[in-house]
Subunit: 417 residues, 2 copies
């Protein structure tokens, strides 16, 4: 046990260093932005490939630009595999850990397994998904959707801001977009997909817990509500002759927060509020508010959204305002595999203590892969709850603990096989 | 009386036409923007000078660029004068009547007086103030402040966006900025300043009244309140770990409206609300709200502002937010001259019916001139309550009625002298 701990500590130090190095592969000088099929992505692939090969893996890039390292432990069946990883792309002005950490931790897990040289019933593959953030083509999960076989051909014609299509970008990157079908996993071939990821939120830190086990990825509704009144001069229009949509939007924002606070597990956010004309001495003519609602149970989310939209309409009628709703995005909750969740929780318990079971409010590749293979996610505490920001962080000791847990879990899974 | 009415109808038709013609003197093609000392202002001066001269006035431009036409009725004392007018500059993308109407109506009043050729105890002067809107130098009332003697020398060094000072602009326009002192009215020389102006609000139209008599120009407080929380990811931060300033700003905007609705005569507006970062899936980090409060009694306004700022602070403390207040602008209410107000109301009553007495929520040259001379304002109904917009309008029949009222009032004033 002492040896295992010191090994995971050494590997965690490497993980931190590798995240630092990858953080310098960027499309932009001075800040980290690494988009799908960019030169920075090629640089990242070169580095990750080197580390994979040094860990004894054979490396390939699939037709969707996913980078995959394959490790065959003694006595393993190469037709079956445990997949560990996350994505290698970033948002604009990103931190060094969102996505990348999961890939680099996957390599460290293989290094630990190889050091012990124990036999395992299946291959271990580390995957760096090519695209998760949706920056370049404004559509996310290109990499994991290719693995899940849900990336339809029509999507390949989507273009970035310079008019280059996904298909052209892949071709230019050296991939064959016509071979996309070959990316998708053979049914039953993936024993488990494990995604280690920073929490991107404040919960684990607030509980003083290093690790959390994800039970589900929340479903999400995103929409905008627009209320339109009449505008006018802030000095010359008496209050009783006004049609001001701003106090109505204000009432609604308060109700959104109250609805979420009074419903366990619900998060609801008005993140954007745009006022037209937004001038101090003009009564607002039109106010547009965004709504983002997430919950692990679709019925709870849908009921909350319905209630808030009914309220928005009542408020509009009461204040004689026109109202318009635009639904932008809706996806169902995705449960993680219950057996893997329990196993991962047991491994955490044996390494540190009973883990926090939690819902991921953010989307992840795990949510896509879960549609075709048993999937689990391990969250690592995010200092300050910060993500999608250069200040994004993870503690080296939490990474060491995470590696210990993953190695423990893989051995436990093997003993059940 | 039939003759007077038909004369005022004829003059009102001229007024409408002249406003149309002046609406084409613009700094910008395709829309009306006429700023202090611009080429468009020179074009406007040329037209107005011609109309003044045709009405028997001698015309001068003072050191502040104010255009003044002087009419000496039979037996008048040239040392004393009744001043009628408003301003000749406009906002950007303006309507044709704000300001200009008062000047053009002043000329029409002189035409009416001259037609009757009755003796009057003083000169009648029509003034087109050079600057009221504050567009070019971001400081308003340059023209009327020069007349009131409150335009200090330091102000002349203010520069526009191209680096030209007020002093240089005046010099280039052909005025002598060093002779500014000569603009200011000799104490007691102005018997009355009368400013006819469109209401710029919906009140008269809602009451089906053509004219209103202004009792005071409201005092005003303008400030911004900023609440700062912590921001974060809309999916990953549970509600109990959030510090979202937006619902707090929402509560406050509701309270601002309620405070104004429950206080007679108070208007209070949150016209600008800026959210940082203003992204649908990010919890707001910081929200800034503007507050504009106006009332004819300073004590009422000040008490309302104090109460709202106390509430803003309580809300901030309750939600663990940092708060910052920036006071931007504050000016006291200015009462119109009670004797002139009563006289003007009587003239309205004798021409059409008891007038609406009302507070002007917007600032006017009358508010500046009132500090040095007895002042009154006549409001003309604004169709749709629209102002500072190309759709700004006035009814020709209301203009005719306004001219009748002003001529009646001047004769009444003369009979009291």
């Amino acid at each position: 046990m002492v040896n295992e701990r010191s090994l995971s500590q050494r590997l965690a130090a490497d993980v931190m260093q590798r995240c630092d190095v990858l953080g310098r592969c960027s499309d932009e000088p001075g800040r980290l932005t690494r988009t799908f099929c960019s030169v920075a992505m090629r640089d990242a692939h070169r580095l990750v490939t080197g580390w994979m090969e040094a860990a004894g893996m054979s490396v390939r890039i699939d037709a969707a630009g996913n980078l995959i390292g394959n490790y065959l432990p003694p006595e393993s069946n190469p037709q079956r595999r445990v997949l560990i990883g996350s994505h290698l792309d970033t948002v604009a002005d990103a931190g060094r850990y969102d996505g990348i950490l999961g890939v680099v931790m996957g390599i460290a897990v293989v290094e630990a397994l190889r050091e012990s040289n124990q036999s395992l019933p299946w291959a271990i593959e580390v995957i760096g998904f090519s695209e998760e953030e949706g920056v370049r083509f404004r559509t996310p999960f290109i990499g994991s959707r290719a693995l899940a076989g849900t990336l339809d051909a029509g999507m390949l014609t989507l273009c970035d801001d310079t008019g280059v299509s996904i298909s052209q970008a892949l071709d230019h990157f050296g991939c064959d977009p016509h071979a996309m079908d070959a990316c998708s996993a053979t049914p039953g071939s993936i024993v488990a997909y494990l995604e280690p990821h920073i929490e991107q939120g404040p919960l684990l830190e607030s509980l003083d817990e290093p690790l959390g086990v994800v039970t589900a990825i929340a479903g999400q509704t995103r929409l905008t509500v627009e209320w339109a009144g009449e505008g006018g001069h802030a000095g010359t229009a008496p209050m009783n002759l006004r049609n001001d949509p701003l106090p109505i939007a204000g009432r609604w924002a308060v109700a959104v927060e109250e609805a979420a606070r009074s419903t366990p597990g619900l998060v609801a956010t008005v993140g954007r509020l745009s006022v037209d004309p937004n001038v101090p001495n003009c009564i607002p003519r039109c106010v547009t508010a965004s709504l983002d609602v997430r919950h692990q149970e679709d019925a709870v989310r849908i009921a909350a959204v319905d209630k808030l939209l009914t309220l928005a309409d009542e408020l509009a009628r009461g204040a004689n305002l026109a109202m318009r709703i635009e639904r932008q995005h809706e996806h169902s909750a995705v449960a993680m595999d219950p057996r893997l969740v329990e196993g991962l929780a047991k491994s955490v318990a044996s390494c540190t203590g009973d883990p926090q079971r939690m819902v991921s409010g953010a989307g992840h590749d795990a949510g896509v892969v879960a549609t075709v293979a048993p999937t689990a996610m391990l969250f690592l505490r995010s200092p300050g709850g910060v993500s999608h920001h250069p200040a994004e962080a993870v503690q080296e000791s939490d990474v060491a603990l995470g590696l210990q847990v993953l190695v423990h879990f893989i051995h436990a899974l093997a003993s059940e096989a």
